[in-house]
Symmetry: C2
Subunit: 219 residues, 2 copies
């Protein structure tokens, strides 16, 4: 039985939402495990990663099948090409969540290092960007998408200030190189997650407005 096109588009959207939820949960639990120094909080992460990889394949297959079978045009076509791109961003975000977890495990094996500079604060902003980029996708909400794009500058500034702070702590001998390197990587990977959320928001803007906002500054 061939299912109605509109149902298939809905399924595609639900898979993307599931993937986004898994990414957000993985990042949230990783940073919590770092703050609470409890690696058990990362336990579900490897299952999440496997599921994300399966969804990546499923979404690409669904999108390609929809293009071939229904030959959509206009807004449906833009929705499907946006889904292919958002899928690719989410899959990378899943990989980044694994990198974050590996680096956090490395930190938890060392003696406690405090403070975690601005990492927990940065993570909160990044998690919200992930969630809002997908809310914007579901609701076709250009204002919310634009909000995500603007948060990206805040995240970049935070990463720069974390970098400067850690470099200073190392130069004065207050931070040993090992944990400082780990925290720099964690900040760097969180920034990359934010970049992917920004890509998703830009795809949403294109989907809603039909205007390509990449490589232009939004006011």
């Amino acid at each position: 039985m061939i299912r109605p096109f509109v149902n298939e588009l809905g399924d595609l959207q639900n898979k993307i939402l599931e993937m986004g939820g898994l990414v957000e949960t993985s990042i949230h639990n990783t940073i919590r495990s770092l703050v609470e120094r409890d690696e058990k909080l990362m336990a579900g992460l490897w299952d999440n990663e496997r599921r994300i990889n399966q969804l990546d394949i499923d979404i690409d297959e669904s999108a390609t099948r929809l293009l071939a079978l229904h030959q959509p045009v206009a807004r449906d076509l833009r929705f499907i090409t946006a889904s292919i791109k958002i899928n690719s961003d989410l899959e990378r975000m899943g990989d980044l969540a694994v990198n974050l977890a590996q680096r956090s495990l490395s930190m938890l094996k060392r003696p406690p290092f405090r403070p975690l500079v601005d990492i927990p604060h940065m993570s909160k902003i990044v998690e919200a960007m992930v969630r809002r980029s997908l809310d914007a996708f579901v609701r076709r909400d250009a204002a919310l998408a634009q909000n995500v794009v603007m948060s990206d500058d805040e995240v970049d500034d935070l990463k720069d200030s974390i970098y400067r702070e850690l470099l200073e702590l190392m130069e004065t001998g207050e931070a040993p190189p090992g944990p400082a390197f780990d925290l720099i990587f964690i900040a760097h990977n969180l920034e990359r997650v934010a970049d992917h959320a920004t890509n998703i928001a830009q795809d949403v803007l294109f989907l809603v407005k039909g205007v390509d906002v990449r490589h232009h500054h939004l006011s």
Copy 2:
């Protein structure tokens, strides 16, 4: 006048090749400028970045138009969806080349720090991966694509050994934190470029064989 479909596919492929050439040149010149301590070698980089961003938009527009106008199926459809994904990887690689250049400029402003550990060697492997992933795309050459996928492990190992070496040099006081951080970032960004080249190679394998090789180990 509507141009023949096959010419439009050829144009799409040429734009992707142009983008790949710009990425490779930018990375090559950045690492050369670091080795020779001559920032003039990076002069063309900002023009390359602008051109890459324009090509990113052009390729997405062409691909979407081809899907809408010609409603291709089978291999042509796979070619166009592969182009959308390869375009997205190349655009990120262009951003990474800019990150590499910014970090290199920061290093050139400091007193010379030697040696550059295994960075020049790592860069050569990564540049070759970029070139070969696109050669594989043009020639629909699965063996060459598989070769790129396998090089990725070598790059990961190199990055790990550069990281360990720099950490040791810092712990013994032989490397100051500033340049060591810069080199870690450069290695990290080169590894990310290699990841994107690997994504492209996997898209080529899917295009040629119609088999999804993501998230599976190749023997």
